[in-house]
């Protein structure tokens, strides 16, 4: 066991998979010499050479397209979009090619690409460097979408994503990069599509993912003092989504609060609540609660930025509401 940051857990996953499979390669802006702005790919170009860690021009639409094509041709590309906000640029090749090729070709071709995209609000970097776009991709059959929040999960799930034979998008919250956690020394995988229970409880289920898991845990801790025992579920993967774990928890608690950092309107929080109602309306003792960011772009001003996202207090209030 060793304790590492989430940032380092990504580096470890990349390094290990590159060593195991010579078809794995990385491409993106400044991933090579600079080792990406967060230092995640630092050193990998020296270790694996300029054909396995490729510095690209600022041509997201095309270099992601190249990644998709290389994947179809049998490689396992890891494409990095520096900020998830700009995943709009290669959207066409992700949605219309990566997601649909296997289907359209009747199973003749796979697209084993992984796209890594740092996302989320924080740092006062305004509306084009702060978005939560993960929800858009959950709408696209053919893709998988993961959002690991601990170093252990990040490493294990990223390795699973690289070995997956289809396209996987990994959303990494920028505020989680310095989160520390234990990671085993040996090889391990964490499967895609299984949620994790971060805290067990009996009174209310809080469903969250990525950075919001930490906010939910903080809320649960505080509620515990008032005698309300919350179960906190970290989804880890949005597509597929582990409804079995969610429903098991609701069987116990009969109450649920779903939290996303994305603007609430049209977000996965509504989708999750809808599915919960379909699967177990009768289990609920109170209307399910949804929490998300305000339906607004993210401001540069730090006060307005802070107003945007759900806070611990908001989650506490939502949990209390299920007892009214």
């Amino acid at each position: 066991m060793s304790i590492i940051t989430l940032r380092e857990s990504i580096t470890q996953a990349l390094r290990e998979e590159m060593a195991l499979d010579e078809n794995v390669f990385i491409m993106g802006c400044d991933v090579g010499l600079r080792g990406n702005p967060f230092g995640i790919t630092k050193g990998l170009m020296n270790e694996y050479g300029e054909k396995r860690v490729i510095d690209t021009p600022i041509s997201e639409a095309a270099f992601t397209g190249l990644g998709v094509g290389a994947a179809i041709a049998g490689m396992r590309p890891l494409v990095e979009i520096l900020y998830a906000d700009w995943i709009t640029l290669p959207m066409d090749n992700i949605v219309n090619t990566a997601a649909k090729t296997c289907y359209m070709f009747g199973g003749q071709a796979n697209v084993p690409i992984v796209i890594r995209a740092p996302f989320g609000v924080g740092g006062g970097v305004a509306a084009q460097h702060s978005q939560n776009n993960e929800n858009w991709f959950v709408h696209v059959p053919g893709l998988k979408v993961i959002t690991p929040s601990t170093p252990y999960d990040m490493k294990g799930m990223l390795k699973s994503a690289i070995r997956d034979n289809g396209p996987v998008i990994c959303f990494e919250h920028k505020r989680n990069y310095s989160v520390k956690g234990e990671v085993p020394d040996g090889e391990y995988l964490v499967p895609i599509g299984k949620a994790a229970i971060r805290k067990t409880g009996t009174d209310c289920t809080i469903v969250a993912y990525s950075y919001m898991t930490y906010v939910a845990e903080a809320a649960a801790k505080e509620l515990e003092k008032d005698g309300i025992s919350c179960e906190v579920i970290d989804l880890r993967s949005l597509l597929p989504l582990d409804y079995d774990t969610v429903m098991e928890s609701i069987k116990k608690t009969s109450r649920v609060v779903v939290v996303t950092e994305a603007p609430l309107r049209g977000s996965i929080a509504g989708e999750i609540v809808g599915e919960i109602i379909d699967r177990g309306f009768d289990l609920l003792d109170a209307p399910p609660q949804r929490l998300g960011s305000k339906n607004s772009p993210v401001a540069y001003n730090e006060g307005l930025e802070a107003m945007c996202t759900p806070k611990k207090e908001d989650i506490i209030a939502a949990v209390r509401k299920t007892f009214e």
Binding site: I58, W86, G123, A126, Q128, K294, L304
Partner: protein
Amino acid sequence: MKDSKCIEELKKEFDAYAEMYSPEGLDREEQIRMYSIMWLMRKFEEAVKPLWMANKVHGYYHPYITEEAIATAIITQLKKEDYVGSTHRGHGHLIAKGGNINKMMAELFGKEEGYNKGRGGSMHISDMSIGMLGASGIVGAAVAPAVGSALKSWIKGTDDVTVVFFGDGGANAGSVSESMNMAAAWKLPVIFVCENNQWAIATDYARITGEPDLYKRGTGFGIPSYRCDGYNIYQIWETAKAAIERARAGEGPTFIECKTMRMLGHHATDDSWYRDMSVCDKYWEIEPIKRMGEFMVENKLATPEELEAIEAEAMKKVEASIEYADTQCHEPSPDTFYDYIYTDGEVIK
């Protein structure tokens, strides 16, 4: 003092180097104005870094330092109705278009009195009242929309022109090429200005392009294309003058590559560890303000004292802008959270 030996050395590696000269039609008064604008840009940018360090300004901030001649030579020739499309390194573009540095400083402070009411910050500075279409956080992505204002002028038959800036990095965004093609096909009144400072954060442009002469891309689309010494305000001025005349006359786009060198970190806290900054030493000999000042003194267009006074004046203006942003402006009120998401005061929560 000019170090001629250093310049001789520089010429060997800087292929865009062009000697300074007095272009026809550029009078002394205009030169003094351009020189003052460059100092205002410089002082503004120099002031921001300490403010960033002191936590008064946050987010990403990209200084325009040593690229001042480009915006100044080109934009000062535009009229108010003309449009400018900017980049993430956009403070200088705004100043050259006649923008208000108090409002820009207030924006960097995130204040309600700022250009963008504190919503945008450095990367989104804009002033629609003077055709300043705004900085952009998505490299290359602002080019097509800027060309759209040239499309408007073309449809309406006005003589307004658009100048759109992008870096050597931004040049590689696909939509930049797509825009150049349409501009050429329809003879849109637009000037593509590639500020080639040879670096895109940590990427040396030679590593990611097969043709180092970026202006040749314009030629490929049938656009008259030129390369200028990005430190030579006179050469850029003269090249831009012809381009603007062409655009106004409905003769279509021009592509101007202004070749320069990024001599500081990419943004406020970037120490450029990934490159050897000593290559820049020679370039400091021809940084545009020093170079223009020396030329004007040599040619008796100004005295050193006059030039010093201009610098001091710029400093005063920038100090006043800091004072304004820091003490006279306000944080946006939480009540205004939903403002501007939609137009005309409509609020959709």
